[in-house]
């Protein structure tokens, strides 16, 4: 029973981590096909903003909110200055975002030095299972973010326009959707979500200029395994990778858990070269192809 609880807790912890780390990247990838190589550094912005506003005396939740908002604004500015010139040039946009990432890591180091003030993990420890209550809070937030995105894409005017743009940009534009504005908004939303990940994990992981790179492997793997469909892809990929990682971690330790997760990811990519949702889309398309 305890075994099962431990596994459950492990799964919740990893699932939340992958979802929160990935979802901002997935929103941008799903919408624009761009993999934002500076995603880790957007997370970094969120973490630093949270750390410093908390250090200045803001209550933690407000400090985190500041992290989210600042990162979203930052993303918006970058989108207007640089990213928007690269629409339709997928590989170039990836290369450019990598350049941005290099600059941001080094600038952070120059401006803030190699360490930032720490934030203790709030809320104390869980009974029975060995782990902080805060991890459960993270899981609740992760599910909340997924639910929020689902609502956003399904029920709001923005969501419907966004999905139309995703399906077929030209048609969307001809139907009066301002696709330029859509991309701008999506980029800001994706950045804000990256900031959220940075803010939420600021108490858990030591904040350094390389803080963002600690998220990279999981996020890239999850986006590639998930494919282009934001919500379904993120949930399925995080579920799959989280399950494998948690199960093996429980038996053989953290490092082997990571290794097992990567092997699972590799097998998944081999079987589904365009991700889980790419496969689903192919399957749907082939059923309707003769139309």
């Amino acid at each position: 029973m305890l075994e099962l609880l431990n596994f459950g807790f492990e799964f919740v912890e990893i699932f939340a981590f992958i979802v929160l780390a990935t979802v901002g990247l997935a929103v941008i990838f799903g919408m624009m096909g761009i993999i934002n190589l500076a995603h880790g550094e957007f997370i970094l912005v969120g973490a630093y903003a949270t750390t410093f506003t908390f250090d200045a005396g803001l209550p933690l939740p407000l400090a985190m909110l500041a992290g989210v908002v600042l990162t979203a604004v930052y993303g918006l500015v970058l989108e207007r200055l640089i990213i928007r010139h690269l629409y339709g040039r997928l590989l170039d946009s990836m290369v450019v975002t990598w350049g941005i990432s290099l600059v941001m890591i080094q600038l952070t180091r120059i401006v803030f030095g190699n360490t930032a003030p720490g934030i203790g993990i709030p809320y104390g420890q869980l009974p029975v299972v060995d782990g902080p209550i805060y991890y459960l809070v993270l899981a609740v937030v992760a599910v909340g973010v997924l639910g929020g995105l689902y609502a956003l894409f399904t029920w709001t005017d923005f969501g419907i326009r966004a999905r139309a743009t995703m399906q077929d940009e030209t048609t969307a534009r001809s139907m009066g959707v301002d696709t330029d504005r859509m991309y701008m908004t999506t980029f800001a939303v994706g950045s804000g979500l990256a900031g959220l990940a940075g803010a939420l994990y600021a108490p858990v992981m030591t904040v350094t200029p390389e803080y963002g790179t600690g998220f990279l492997i999981e996020t890239f793997v999850a986006v590639v395994v998930g494919g282009a469909s934001v919500l379904v892809g993120t949930v399925l990929a995080s579920g799959l990778l989280g399950t494998v990682n948690a199960a093996v971690t429980n038996v053989a330790g953290t490092f082997m858990g990571q290794v097992a997760m990567l092997i699972a990811a590799i097998v998944a990519i081999r079987l589904m070269p365009e991700g889980i949702t790419g496969m689903l889309a192919d399957w749907r398309e082939s059923r309707g192809e003769s139309q």
């Binding site: 082939s286 059923r287 309707g288 192809e289 003769s290 139309q291």
Partner: protein
């Protein structure tokens, strides 16, 4: 060609007869289903060497699927394809190309970043030795009226020039069977007439069998030896252009719907 595999006997007798050697292309019981939808249904099709055949039919009749089955872009659910006396069902595309089946896509798909000569080199180096590149390139460019554009980057050509270049590239492979998907879509009247002449010439002078998918019935009339009408994935009618044109049933399913 009939197989001794006992499981075949329980299937419909589509596989029992071999190819007719006088035909360059034959299909037997060709079927392609996507999930629950059948795009190509039990098609028995035959083509003589040097014949120019047009495939017509309403949208969704399965014309493009049929062509994709011939090139190997799609694998059939059932049935056989015989080319030049041999069973080519299941062969990968590039092996079919090596046997002499050439394809021109619906949208012009030249290599936009390469020059016209560079474009031609891609198919040419598959079939001739390097010392013959120049001579063959010149020959093809002359025939397809692109000599002046030899060093032009293909992306800068007009739509009609791109269509000609693409047919030239297909012909550079020295095929015995040429498949074209709407070669005159979006072309002007003059350009269409040029392509019509070229296709007739390819069939008559080079002896290449040609299958053309086409919507424009006037264009079909100027070029086709025979016409095959597809509907709902099956062959609906087959005959000379006069027979097809005056067939009231064809009018109903095709002409009536489109015009």
């Amino acid at each position: 060609m009939a197989t001794s595999d006992p499981t075949v006997k329980t299937a419909p007798a589509v596989d029992e007869t071999g190819p007719d050697s006088s035909r360059i292309l034959q299909t037997r019981g060709l079927r392609k289903a996507f999930g629950g939808l059948t795009a190509t249904d039990d098609v028995d099709f035959a083509l003589e060497a040097g014949e120019l055949r047009c495939l017509i039919g309403p949208n969704g009749a399965g014309k493009s699927t049929f062509l994709d089955l011939l090139t190997g872009r799609l694998e059939p659910t059932a049935g056989k394809i015989y080319y030049d006396g041999a069973d080519i069902t299941g062969l990968p595309s590039h092996e079919r190309v090596d046997r002499g089946i050439s394809m021109k896509f619906q949208v012009p798909s030249v290599y936009e970043g390469l020059t016209v000569a560079g474009n031609l080199r891609i198919p040419l180096q598959r079939v001739v030795e390097p010392d013959a590149f120049d001579a063959r390139t010149r020959e093809i460019l002359e025939r397809f009226d692109l000599l002046a554009e030899r060093e032009t980057v293909a992306g800068e050509l007009s739509h009609g020039q791109q269509q000609r270049l693409e047919i030239g590239m297909a012909m550079a492979m020295e095929p015995n069977l040429l498949l074209l998907d709407e070669p005159v879509a979006g072309l002007s009247v003059e350009e269409t007439a040029d392509i019509a002449d070229l296709l007739r010439e390819i069939a008559d002078d080079d002896g290449v069998a040609v299958i053309v998918i086409e919507h424009d019935i006037d264009f079909v009339e100027t070029i086709a030896d025979r016409v095959t009408v597809l509907d709902g994935g099956s062959i609906f009618r087959e005959g000379s252009i006069e027979e097809i044109r005056t067939d009231p049933e064809v009018k109903r399913i095709y002409l009536g719907e489109d015009r």
